[in-house]
Symmetry: C2
Subunit: 231 residues, 2 copies
DNA sequence: TCAAAAGTGTTAAGTTTACACCCATGA
DNA sequence: TCATGGGTGTAAACTTAACACTTTTGA
């Protein structure tokens, strides 16, 4: 009786796909692979994989990310489930998309090479197969909303960063210029951003103070953008 | 070769679960069923069902909603995929949750009875089985955010409504009191809310003007709440 | 010496909040 | 006649947006 309740129903392949965000020289980037194996050889896609029997969706996403980057403990959020009947022409596969925020320089370049993966600037993406472009758009919209409300941008930066880097990160994600003085004023009010006494000499001749993120500090509104969300 | 690519992977039961919101006498409510059949007879749960072979996730959610309410063309949003390995103790089932906003009075009461379903005030819910309470919480949080940004509240009201009804709906969803004059000031600025010349005499002795929602009007920021999102 | 990025405050405009009374009606 | 919900405007507090110049230093 119980077993019939389940077993009369269809079963499905389940995949996870990862929208992997990174930030480099003022550009928001995605880690994409150009598949050098069948099926769909030559096509650009997100990094994905099938969910295994004894694995949660979240764990599957972590595994896929780990396989490509060598990183664990990465900030990830679910984007949603994509379940159009014909989204994958090869078979009925339902996919759950996740986005990840990480520091490009921490990635394992060996693995990246193995998978034929490349960091592509988000404003200059190739066409992606299946519904992967739709996943990217949705992830990008979620990230944009979330970064205005929660201090998650730090995941894309090294542990020490200058305020110019932080600002250009926000500008890249929000897609608009931010006033430098207003931005710094807000940073000063956020207790979870701490000035260190170290100075970065790479980004400018004069040098700029390095800041760090302090998770434990402050449970206030961790908001580095002004005003209501833009439409 | 192609077939092996897929077929070496595990397959899963896929379900959809619906968080069905309604609004009645100042209370935000959920349509829940107390299962009068096995498995899990007697337990309270969301209305759910298995995804079928030739059905998208969205269509499955619509079908499940239609079966219980007799309504189609209902406003629905995906909440997310829930995929903990042991979330369903009977079998490995991954579920995709959707929330729906509808007018309680439009529901088919016959069907509701058949399924042993009941409208329960959201602040007074029974324990729900599996991870359904988690789904409800997530849906509620999404709704709260979304209603502050987009004009979706109308889906919970009859096509003609008073401003007091609209305000109490917002208060129920946001969980806080709103100043009457400030609320009405904002309504006046929203071109998609139209005053009609009809008057409701049921809610008060004096009578109150009925308003209607005009989808086509206005592409401005359709925001009926002030300020940034609360933390 | 100059190009390039770092750093720094003030004011005006706009938005949000707080607040109290009269009106119309049916019971 | 009174209890109930409907309807209305203004001023203070706060938040955001706009804006320009000086500093440091390596090339």
């Amino acid at each position: 009786m119980l077993s019939t309740f389940y077993s009369q129903n269809a079963k499905f392949f389940l995949a996870v796909d990862c929208i992997i965000f990174g930030f480099q020289r003022g550009n928001l980037k995605l880690l994409l692979q150009q598949r050098h194996f069948e099926p769909f050889k030559g096509e650009w896609s997100l990094m994905g994989g099938f969910v295994q029997e004894n694995e949660s969706l979240d764990d599957a996403a972590k595994r896929v990310l780990y396989d490509l980057t060598g990183l664990s403990e990465v900030y990830m959020e679910q984007v949603g489930a994509f379940g159009a009947v014909d989204r994958d022409p090869g078979a009925r596969v339902v996919s759950v998309a996740y986005y990840a925020l990480l520091d490009i320089d921490k990635c394992n370049h060996e693995l990246k090479h193995q998978y034929n993966a490349h960091w592509e600037s988000i404003d200059n993406l190739p066409n992606l197969f299946f519904d992967h472009s739709e996943m990217v758009e949705k992830a990008r919209a979620l990230l944009k909303k979330k970064i205005s409300r929660e201090p998650i941008g730090f995941n894309l930066l090294p542990s020490l960063f200058t305020l110019s880097q932080l600002q250009s990160l926000y500008e890249a994600i929000l897609g608009e210029a931010i006033d430098k003085r207003n931005f710094r004023k807000r940073v000063n009010e956020m207790s979870f951003i701490e000035k260190t006494d170290q100075i970065d000499k790479l980004g400018s001749k004069r040098g700029a103070y390095l800041y760090k993120f302090n998770k434990t500090r402050g449970r206030q509104t961790p908001c580095l953008t002004a005003g209501r969300d833009k439409p």
